[in-house]
Symmetry: C2
Subunit: 410 residues, 2 copies
């Protein structure tokens, strides 16, 4: 029998758009012994987590709970539950994750309509609004923060039109939740999906979602009780049943309700992590947290500019939690990334599709988003670029970032 | 802002059929700082985990990896990927989780055929074989260990007939993997799903699966590359695409292959737990582990009998890792469970559907399956039954279990 070594992962400075570093207090939470899924102490933790998620999503919605899977499990759960086969679905696309929404909607059996914007920009609200008015979709699904291009889509004006047109508005806020404002109720968002491994700084593994009564009304038309748990006569809903058992929000909400109707076995240790991570977010305060993300972004961007690097994309819609940097002419982007990881222990990201090999993406998210990390990545990137024969004036970058910190306070 | 308390779950003795107690070494593994998903150190951990899963499943299959979700996510991933809409699917049902397979197959768009056996028993292999011969299904899906009734279905003879009939055989080994033999290759199982929170004693959150070339051949006919990652012209497969993005095994295997085609963000901390849990299982050795589970079951059953309690179901097909106990006449089963939890810190389970209120289920799984736990649950159950006015001869139960340990060694 082969012997496997003790687990001993290196300590990394993770400056990608996720997964990012995790606060030691969250890591510690996962090391607590587990409780049974129907232990009253555990269901209390479930209820507390729901309460904290409502605060995070800025919502009075009854339903706010994690789907047990990575971020895209939450997206798929919301989409497969709210899109009935044959529904007209509008997807405005301005990067890779818009294409993912398209792909998922297609697999849900939707009649998909897309509008596309050149990567690096976002839609003017009126462009989305006029598409909604002409296509008259049942569902609109849109990305809030597109990490593939580092852009953020303004959402505030879209919800009202969706209500007028009787469409449900689904928002992928995986990259933004906990880093920039996400105003579920104020923006009239019907369903929102957050991510854990980005600005919340909780390990990948849960996908917090929330949805309102408009969304729930549709779920109830597709409601099923699981075979094997049914008592009495079973009546089919008004709309076709959800094509997934695991992702059926109607079942998940019965499990997360006082009814506690058995579904999956809730991920105990991940829920401990989520609860602790949310506790830290709410302790810091959402506004303070957003301000922190903005500050460190400014310092990072100042440092990158002082190094002579150019940011990618339309600055007016830059997502604060990730900086997309054009890889300078003549520099091998992957070689730089490898040197950063192997010599400095720092991870930055590449990108996808048309941007592969063209940009680096440097995240300032959650627990990774702090002064010493920003200064460290700037210093290391400068040294690595010099080592790659790229010409720049040494020393300016870190100084520029320090200037920001000095002027703005920490 | 409401203040939330420090996480402080009580220490429980968990004697249910899952989730069960977790070895402190596995809990500790989750507290290590995270690595990025494409960090070479992390992809090494992914590869090692695949290797260990092959050993666990007793298979030479190329594909053995976890699906990122609770156990039923693995079941759904295998079913939605291997069942094309309109496929004929045979499900032999002998408890709740057979009904779950039925429900999932139905949601996959299958033409479902079921045969049912009274709860408490299992099928004779020839019953399943003759159903396969007459129904000629594309897929057969069956539960190996049915925790709702505590029964185990013999599987060894079914695989050969599936090959003759060109059907794929999917086995839900969620409850058995790591506790009793699961012979993927020897029994000719085409796809097997294991659970983490039962005999493997890893927190709920990952679903290890394996499948062979016969299964992969079907996946390849449904293969898609994700929108947003496609390069060049896209050709549709021979069979309809999988109805889920998250659960598309064709995509998952590209992510788990050296190609590392981006899909979800692998659950870092859960993978650390899975790797450590598997390491402990392989260190103990599968045979020794199965023998340990058998020993503690014997001691538990002897103790229950000495207390005058009656086991539920056909003893010939008893699942060794859970004992189903008839709740004595006049005793309130839920009141007993509550007293065990509140006064003794011990959790045992109730059951589902027709067995609700009729039986208790006492698990002896994984890390929970040890002498001190068995003796503790017997002593506490005896005291609790006495406290509930149930008449029994005190002291015999724990002595009977100790006798087993003395005779058989530990």
């Amino acid at each position: 029998m082969k012997r496997y070594e003790d687990l001993a992962p290196s300590l990394r400075c993770i400056m990608t758009p996720g997964p990012v570093e995790v606060d030691p207090r969250v890591l510690r939470a996962m090391s607590f012994p587990v409780l049974g899924q129907f232990d009253p102490e555990f269901t209390d933790i479930m209820n507390e987590t729901m309460e904290m998620l409502r605060a995070l999503f800025k919502t009075g919605n009854k339903w706010a709970f994690p789907v047990d899977g990575t971020s895209r499990s939450g997206i798929e759960a919301v989409m497969v539950s709210l899109i009935a086969p044959g529904d007209r679905v509008l997807i405005p696309i301005f990067g890779r994750f818009g294409h993912l929404l398209h792909e998922i909607a297609e697999r849900c059996g939707a009649e998909v309509y897309t509008i596309e914007k050149e990567w690096g920009s976002v839609f003017a609200p009126e462009e989305v609004i006029s598409a909604i008015r002409s296509i008259k979709p049942d569902v609109v699904a849109i990305v809030h923060g597109e990490t593939s291009t580092g852009r953020m889509q303004p959402l505030a004006e879209i919800g009202q039109v969706c209500r007028e047109q009787d469409a449900l508005l689904i928002v992928d806020a995986v990259a933004t939740i906990g880093g920039v404002p996400v105003e579920t109720d104020e923006w009239l968002l019907d369903a929102v999906i957050g991510g854990t491994q980005k600005c919340l700084s909780i390990p990948s593994g849960m996908a917090p979602v929330t949805y309102n009564e408009r969304a729930e009304a549709k779920l109830l038309k597709r409601k099923q009780v699981e075979r094997g748990l049914r008592t009495g006569r079973f009546e089919a809903g008004e709309l076709p049943p959800v094509r997934s058992n695991y992702f059926d929000l109607g079942m998940l909400q019965d499990y997360w309700s006082p009814q506690r109707l058995n579904h999956h076995t809730e991920m105990t240790s991940m829920l401990y992590a989520l609860r602790e991570g949310l506790r830290l977010v709410l302790e810091e305060g959402l506004e303070a947290r957003h301000a922190r993300h903005a500050l460190h972004e400014q310092a990072l961007v100042a440092g990158l500019a002082a190094m002579g690097l150019t940011l990618y994309g339309d600055p007016d819609c830059k997502l604060t939690v990730v900086a997309c940097v054009q890889i300078p002419e003549g520099v091998d982007g992957e070689s730089v990334r490898t040197m950063l990881l192997d010599h400095f222990g720092i991870e930055i990201a590449s990108s996808f599709g048309p941007l592969k090999g063209k940009i680096w993406r440097i995240g300032t998210m959650g627990f990774s988003c702090r002064e010493n990390n920003v200064l460290r990545v700037l210093g290391a990137l400068e040294a690595t670029l010099l080592r790659h024969g790229h010409s720049l004036s040494p020393g300016l970058s870190v100084q520029a970032a320090l200037d920001v910190y000095e002027q703005k306070g920490r």
